[in-house]
Amino acid sequence: MNYQELIRQTALRDERVVVMTAENRAVLRELPPVLGPRFVDVGIAEQTMIGAAAGLALRGRIPICHALAPFLIYRAYEFVRTDVGIAHLPVKLSSWIAGFLSEANGPTHQAIEDVALMRAIPGMTVFCPADEADMLAMLPAIWASPDPAYVRLIVRKTDYPHAPFEIGRAEIVSEGSDVTLLVYGLLFEEARQTARLLEQQGWSVGLINMRSLKPVDEEAILRAARTSRRLVTIEDHLLTGGLYSIVAETLLKHRQTADVLPLALQERWFRPALLADVLAFEGFTAERMAQRIVALPAE
């Protein structure tokens, strides 16, 4: 099973599903002959894709809109907000190469504000699976929901056996009293290794795969804040409006406080390079993250 096969099976089972792309079809290459007119490639015209998706959704369709993250949501942001958001239509945004996955493309392609912008739209739901298996576990529920949805796609594989998915619920990988790492998306695997490195040094480490950023699992955050001396948020996203903000909003809403270290991009785009070099340069390898956590001053 992979992303394309899941779309194929879903679309063949439910004729409401229409697959749309703004000419980013390499991972969908086998779908046009299978879906015929229910595969719609609008060319390099993201605004028109989203507007048309709204029109299709008005007629009862469930459009899955697949495009490069920055153009899918930044180029078309007002169309997403105004046509999909205001009308609260079940348009499913499939976002390709968000965060560090844009590698050496440069700032034009770096979707590192996507969580902030998408969760700002009333009624929009936001999901960031950790790996391919996690994504395949999450997408059916996301597509079956009546809500508009934004998903950071990921096709990288890890060996973590994920639990079944429920919208609004995080996946508690482990609980620990010294520190809890809260992470989503691509950096899940690095965070797992970070947890291992810390455990080797005798730390008691919790790890949470956030999965659903809106609605967010408030209880998972609050419980981690209660049971762990320190929280670390890990994200390939700007500090503004991402997981660190979500954690801060959640804690304040419930009149709790916590010692939180944010590992995120702060007021800058990341250095373009191949992924391993990006992680090293930006300090997001497991070793560097473990060092940054260990270096924190004791309370």
Binding site: R25, P272, A273
Partner: protein
């Protein structure tokens, strides 16, 4: 629309020199097509255009980039940047050795242009932006009563973006005949033929309907380039559009005009074979899969 003639072709010696530079630019593009790769096919299609523009047309002294009277070239189809860097390296704007920093964190030689590289006027990568940015530059030049020219190189697939046409409407309304749009018409967008997806032809009448004066040329023929660029603006008070028909992958037959040779990450051996093919030796045997989304 008119068609350019070769009446004012460069002299044979000048033509040979341009061809020699273009060949070396294509070598650079192929050498960047490994260890992570680059947009090989799309870069090879506009290599001749860049060589002509920088070597023959643009009034830019790379040691005087702050000269307010100089021309501008804006690369709107940013994924062609290996062709631009290859040209700038061959003309001495940047050291050739700097190309070996491709995709490394010690430099800014990555998949799209950016202003850390001298001569790059503006970053790009998101299509359909630089016709508008070029419009702004051209507007300032008109406000100052100056005569610099602003050349914006776009792709053909890029014309799908509505923002291109918004910019043309405004440029036409403001009579910006110092603005030149050059379309690298290589007939592909990413992994699809344009005419099989969102047909663009007839292309020239579309630009004419938006108030532009249009000339269509062979984008690999320096004589036709000279004939067209030497008589700009084509009409007083109108933005000019040059549709340059090109071949994606031009110069390397085994990757020419192929949907799957847009972004390429070849093995080192394949690059060596492609270099031999570029020089007219044996055709390369390619096994790398290069159908990808970037």
């Amino acid at each position: 629309m008119t068609t350019a003639t070769s009446s004012s072709a460069p002299t044979p010696a000048a033509y040979a020199e341009l061809s020699a530079i273009a060949l070396r630019v294509r070598e650079h593009i192929l050498r960047l097509s490994t260890d992570g790769g680059c947009f090989t096919g799309a870069s090879l299609s506009c290599a001749d255009l860049f060589v002509f523009l920088y070597a023959r047309f643009l009034r830019i002294n790379y040691e005087r980039l702050d000269d307010p009277e100089r021309d501008y070239l804006l690369l709107s189809k940013g994924h062609d940047v290996p062709a631009l860097y290859g040209t700038l390296a061959e003309l001495g704007w940047i050291p050739i050795e700097r190309l070996s920093n491709h995709l490394k964190t010690n430099d800014f030689i990555y998949w799209h242009p950016n202003r850390h590289v001298p001569g790059v006027e503006f970053h790009s990568g998101s299509l359909g932006h630089l016709p508008a940015v070029g419009l702004g530059i051209a507007l300032d030049i008109k406000l100052r009563g100056a005569s610099n020219r602003v050349v914006v190189v776009t792709g053909d697939g890029e014309l799908d973006e509505g923002s291109v046409w918004e910019a043309l409407l405004v440029a036409s309304a403001y009579r910006l005949d110092n603005l030149v749009i050059v379309v690298d018409r290589n007939h592909f967008q990413a992994n699809v033929r344009t005419e099989e997806l969102i047909p663009l032809e007839p292309m020239a009448p579309k630009f004419e309907a938006f108030g532009c004066a249009v000339v269509r040329i062979d984008g690999h023929d320096f004589g036709q380039m000279e004939a067209a660029f030497s008589r700009l603006p084509f009409e007083e008070g109108k933005p000019s559009v040059i549709i340059a028909d090109t071949v994606r992958g031009k110069g390397v037959p085994s990757i020419e005009a192929r949907a799957d040779r847009w972004f390429c990450n070849f093995s080192a051996e394949e690059v060596e074979a492609l270099l031999r093919e570029l020089h007219g030796e044996a055709r390369a045997q390619l096994t790398s899969e290069t159908l990808t989304v970037r």
